[in-house]
Amino acid sequence: MPAYNLLINGKQHTADVAADTPLLWVLRDHLGLLGTKYGCGVAQCGACTVHLNGAAVKSCVLPVSAIKTSAVTTIEGLSELGDHPVQAAWDEVDVPQCGYCQAGQIMTAAALLKKNAHPADKEIAAAMNGNICRCGAYHRIHEAIKLAGTKI
């Protein structure tokens, strides 16, 4: 199997995996980065969202061979101390219920705010529409993004 050199959270990692292995499973099964979640495997729920060169992507359908030199950021690397404005807002607004989807929600929100620090309500809803929260915590997710926008 080929060995892939990956730049994840600012560090070089190597993974000996098949070329079609989705980044999600490389992170989880091979590199022990477990914050990125499996929810659907078909890019429909967003639980697996990570950043590729700063943009939100669904890692469950991204083959490891396509990453090449792109920089990957996972929830573990979003901030050193867990205090990225989006993470802080998530705590402040008390967003999580079961919590399983939240890493993906946070990564999508962080990518949105990087492009647009003060999104309108409709822009937030459109950007977040690819992330399902089965507990229905959408109101607080929305509120936390607004709050984080004031602190970026």
Partner: protein, 711 residues
């Protein structure tokens, strides 16, 4: 370990000093008599005579173990809040840990039925109040003053002279004191934590991506497995050709057991790929059913089936024969999947000397029992560690996926984590059953409801009625009955079982009856409740006054009937011991009804955690709206037609309305909130849509209704 005896009859309390110093109280939150006192030298490992403990270390850290599985209902925050309140603890020094399964000391270590808080309220308070009492006694003794001159607050005991000692400093001395037989609870007006908004204790771990869930459990050397189960209910394996799969990289074995083909390997992706190379031929094994069959079956059962009577009052035949007006309507709901974000999974390691089970389950004790039975070993040879659950919604009350993992581990003689794909999760069963109801109402010339009938027919739904729910008790002639059809399609409890759909059907029907009686829907319900109060018909199992209060409060908060240009729908439901009334506002946009706002008034007695309570109500409403509007699982030749979120629709952020929550402050002992806010939502929404369009909705999902076709 030494043993002491106490004469206490209470279900609670042993104490000792912690290893390394401190106070350790072991107590049972659940059993009524678990009183073999044991001196605890260390936190219980899960096999002590009690299932929980509260410890205070000499540095003042208070650790509380939380026994119930956490799936987003926020129990790991609300339970310790109750203990900490009576303990007068400094909340910032409270640490919460998940207790492992302990079948010896508890009777309800499960998550379901919105039952944990009402079940444990007094026991949690007793635990906190007892520790507080002992800490005050310890301080009084040290200062040589009467205990009555000492008070406790924020983890500090203060004497009237101004002297202070922290709980950490007192913990050792407190551990040497006897356990009081009686303790006094606080007055609700003195609550400092209960009723306030306290953040989820797991927030930090969740937002930084810590491995909390069953899916996140990894152990060096463990194998990964996916299982191909029959795609169609009512079929069984005829033949399996796994040669190609076995030859693929990373694959350790392909094992056939029960009606399953397990692909076992060294990584998830390798297993998922090899799975596609397994060729399985199935053959029928009983009836192979489709949704079209069920539709026809429902009709014939409603028309001609033999029903089981659930409740009967008065003489319905006479009431309907003498009625000025009768109404008959059918309501139908489809199967839906639980679809928790974390698919089913479990780790199992069956060894000669015992079995280790680790993963997300709502019902750890049942999983342990079933595994013991399957492997034919004593239950005490099985340990079960409860991880955080990435949602449950009732799916994880079934333990099929636990037992299956144990069986596979035994067959391959290795530690293994079985992972369900989303497709497995959606096609593998245990759904909210498909149900059809027929409601009939008889009105007299004055518009009084004099006769009421409800017949429910369901697919593996058991009793799909809730015969004692409102309006039972308020109608002189009433008949509630049901018919069950047995099917190979598996079903199970789904958040607010039965009422998740019955709530809509009943409240939508009552709205139509009110219209026929020419009465305002709110007024109509209030009149019925007043009648039930004045002349109850048979047994009444809901509190009429509490229901009246939530109705009136919801109408007031939502400005019922006072918003020009807004179409409002009303609904009220009592389920799982709590009362929730909702008003839905609908606006027409581009010729279609759009749900703009839902106002909810909940009476769950004393609110424990205001933040968590709001979450449960808002989430329950989003869940209720989403499934009423969009979700449907249909079957063709025994197989689910929707297998992932590209075809099975869940509500998303762009589809949520504004939600406003209110709680009734009545000081009544708390009841649960995980479910009660969901059942009323569909009815409020359907009734508001009717106001806006003039067209009633009788079938879920609403999105398939004519109201949502472009006009």
């Amino acid at each position: 370990m030494s043993t002491q005896h106490t004469t206490s009859r209470r279900d609670f309390l042993k104490l000792s000093s912690l290893a390394g110093g401190g106070l350790l109280l072991g107590f049972s939150w659940f059993s009524s008599e678990a009183e073999v006192p044991t001196l605890l030298k260390a936190p219980p490992a899960g096999t002590m005579g009690f299932n929980s403990y509260l410890s205070i270390s000499t540095d003042g850290v208070i650790t509380i173990s939380s026994p119930n599985p956490e799936l987003g209902q926020n129990i790991m925050t609300s339970f310790p809040m109750i203990v900490a309140e009576e303990l007068d603890a400094d909340w910032t020094k409270v640490k919460v840990i998940q207790a492992p399964l302990d079948t010896k000391g508890f009777d309800r270590q499960l998550t379901g039925g919105s039952g944990a808080v009402p079940h444990s309220w007094n026991k949690l308070r007793t635990a906190g109040a007892t520790a507080r009492f002992m800490l005050i006694q310890a301080a009084a003794k040290k200062w040589n003053v009467p205990a009555e001159e000492c008070t406790a607050a924020n983890s500090v005991v203060t004497h009237s002279s101004g002297k202070q000692l922290g709980y950490g400093e007192l913990a050792e001395a407190a551990a040497a004191l006897p356990v009081p037989k009686e303790v006094k609870f606080k007055n609700a007006k003195d609550f400092k934590l209960i009723g306030t908004a306290i953040k989820n204790v797991a927030n930090k771990s969740i937002i930084t991506g810590k491995p909390l869930f069953g899916m996140d459990f990894y152990r060096p050397g463990m194998l990964f497995a996916m299982i191909q189960r029959p795609e169609a209910f009512g079929t069984k394996i005829k033949s399996v050709d796994s040669a190609a799969a076995k030859a693929m990289p990373g694959i350790v074995d392909v094992v056939v057991f029960q009606n399953n083909v397990a692909i076992v390997g060294k990584s998830t992706w390798e297993v998922a790929k090899a799975r596609k190379a397994v060729k399985i031929i199935y053959e029928p094994d009983g009836a192979v059913e489709s949704t079209a069959d069920h539709d026809a079956l429902f009709k014939s059962l409603l028309d001609t089936g033999t029903a089981t009577v659930r409740r009967k009052n008065g003489d319905v035949d006479a009431a309907f024969a003498g009625a000025a007006k009768t109404i008959k309507r059918d309501y139908q709901c489809p199967f839906i999947a639980h679809a928790p974000m974390e698919p089913m999974n479990f780790f199992a390691h069956v060894r000669e000397d015992g079995v280790e089970l680790i993963g997300p389950t709502q019902t750890p004790a049942s999983a342990q029992t079933a595994t013991a039975k399957l492997l034919n070993i004593p239950e005490d040879r099985i340990t079960l560690e409860i991880t955080r659950l990435g949602g449950g919604f009732g799916r994880r009350l079934k333990f099929d996926y636990v037992v299956e993992a144990a069986e596979l581990s035994k067959l391959i003689n290795a530690p293994v984590k079985v992972i369900w794909s989303r497709e497995d999760d959606m096609s593998g069963g245990s759904y909210r059953p498909a149900v059809r109801y027929r409601f009939e109402a008889a009105l007299d010339a004055a518009g009084n409801l004099v006769g009421y009938k409800c017949r429910g027919v369901g697919i593996n739904a058991g009793n799909p009625t809730r015969e004692d729910n409102f309006p039972s008790g308020a109608v002189p002639n009433l008949l509630i009955d049901c018919i069950e059809h047995k099917s190979a399609i598996t079903t199970g409890p789904w958040r607010a079982p039965i009422t998740n759909f019955l709530g809509f059907a009943e409240q939508a029907f009552l709205d139509e009856v009110a219209e026929a009686a020419k009465k305002d829907p709110v007024q109509f319900r209030l009149e019925l409740l007043e009648k039930a109060k004045a002349a109850p018909v048979g047994e009444i199992k809901y509190d009429i006054n509490r229901m009246i209060t939530v109705i009136k409060t919801a109408a007031e908060k939502a400005g019922w009937g006072k918003l020009p240009g807004v179409s409002q729908g009303f609904s009220v439901y009592f389920s799982h011991r709590s009362y929730v009334a909702q008003v839905c506002n609908v606006l027409m946009q581009a010729g279609k009804p759009v749900v703009q706002k839902i106002t909810a008034v909940s009476d769950c007695g004393q609110v424990i955690n205001l933040s968590g309570a709001k979450q449960q109500v808002m989430g329950g409403i989003v869940d209720g709206l989403g499934h009423a509007m969009y979700s449907k699982l249909s079957f063709k030749n025994g197989a689910a037609e929707q297998k992932n979120f590209n075809t099975y629709r869940l509500i998303r952020m762009q589809e949520i309305p504004e939600v406003e929550t209110h709680f009734i402050d009545n000081g009544i002992d708390p009841t649960g909130l995980g479910e009660p806010a969901l059942p009323p939502t569909g009815g409020a929404v359907a009734n508001a849509i009717f106001k806006a369009t003039g067209k009633r909705i009788y079938t879920q999902p609403f999105i398939e209704d004519a109201n949502f076709k472009t006009i």
